[in-house]
Symmetry: C2
Subunit: 242 residues, 2 copies
């Protein structure tokens, strides 16, 4: 059972104030990289794993998707997603990604933004997503980068050579990490890059692209405070094909 | 042109004193992981990219390989490889992996141990290795892990939470890094995990397994000083298939 931190009132209130919560996909700096890995969604059936407020579901329909199913474990997120959506071709369903059943061969594209690092049993979900896709169906996801999730105490220090450094430890020790982000005791599951990729391969996916996301020079010009993110990428983005 | 540091007398003398130089494959702690990714070599044609002293070439023949070609840029390494080898089915050839021509469809297995992080143009080599393999031929390689090659000044610090930490910086800034290992000014090429994997995919390979190597509990029991390597893996190991 995944920790349902999004229904924690303190967490939910903090999350609602994030730029990406208020302004949607365009406020997420990694969104252009995710979008670039998606096929033309026209007439495709799309699955959103951890749909949150439904921003991606609605965007997919704007691109011409035939239908979209958004799944999320958070009742509060889904309440707002439903309130913000007037489109009979978008369905929302509450479910824990670790256990939710998915229909076989029902989707052309599966998408997930920053949800999979909450799951202890990622392999189980990937096997179900594999079967839920049509042959050659596409999975595109982002997750917090393993370098970001690994440390006992994630923080920046001043590098001796100037700039910032990210003291990395426990990289190969997989398992839960408790961090205080928006609320105390948020549980994320650290797994290595290798494990993300091997679980995909074991589930039957072929890996088609990997990106370790950091801000572009143009983004750093606009947000100089993002520069250290190039010292330690915050997000892992993967595209895979059934 | 790759820096040919192995023909530097200081470097070569230091390298010759390493356990893996004196005792061969079994002295390399990551060898069991590499070996596990190799197919049964009986009757197969094997290519070793950066063969060094020829330990792997001779081992492949002991496993029944039909023939082995070992390539290396270092004249001194090849001199010793030739001196240590009495086997007409093993051929050694001097060549820079960045430019060396390879025969098409001539090999069933390509192998490389800790050589590819010296190459500035890895994509060019991978394209040639792809064409040098038969369809469904296998590539298994190790390289220094990107977390290991990234920092401006690679070093351990004491973690605030106990144990060691590896201050990571410049992870997304790819390119040469000059380090003092066995000799001053050894040039290694830092590239991210994503780049290693995307170059393989672009060359036509399917990725079949990824390992971020760290010592096992049994190895740490024997060598307690290796424990911090689990905080920051030193080696990346990848298996791919044409």
């Amino acid at each position: 059972m995944t920790q349902n931190i999004y229904d924690d009132p303190t967490f939910f209130a903090g999350y609602a104030r994030l730029p990406r919560s208020q302004a949607g996909l365009e406020a997420a700096p990694e969104w252009p990289s995710l979008r670039a890995l998606l096929p033309d969604l026209r007439d495709l059936r799309v699955l959103d794993l951890g749909c949150g407020y439904g921003w991606f579901c609605r965007w997919a329909r704007e691109q011409g998707a035939a239908g979209v199913l958004g799944l999320d474990v958070s009742e509060k997120m889904l309440e707002r997603a439903i309130a913000d959506t007037q489109d009979p071709a978008i369905a929302y369903r509450r479910g824990d990604l670790e256990t939710v059943a998915l229909p076989w061969g029902a989707f052309d594209v599966a998408y997930s933004s920053l949800a999979l690092h909450y799951l202890a049993d990622l392999g189980g979900l990937l096997a179900r997503v594999h079967d839920a896709l049509v042959p050659e169906g596409i999975l595109v996801f982002s997750a917090e980068h393993p370098i970001y999730t690994a440390p006992n105490r994630p923080h920046w220090t001043d590098a001796e050579t100037g700039g910032k450094a990210w003291p990395l430890d426990r990289y190969l020790e997989e398992g839960p990490r408790s961090t205080d982000w928006l609320a105390p005791g948020v549980i994320k599951q650290h797994r290595t890059m290798a494990t993300y990729l091997n679980l995909l391969i074991e589930a039957g996916f072929g890996i088609t692209h990997v990106e370790e996301w950091g801000p572009s020079p143009a983004q750093i010009a606009e947000h100089p405070e993002w520069a250290p993110e190039r010292d330690r990428p915050p997000f892992l983005i993967v595209a895979a094909q059934r």
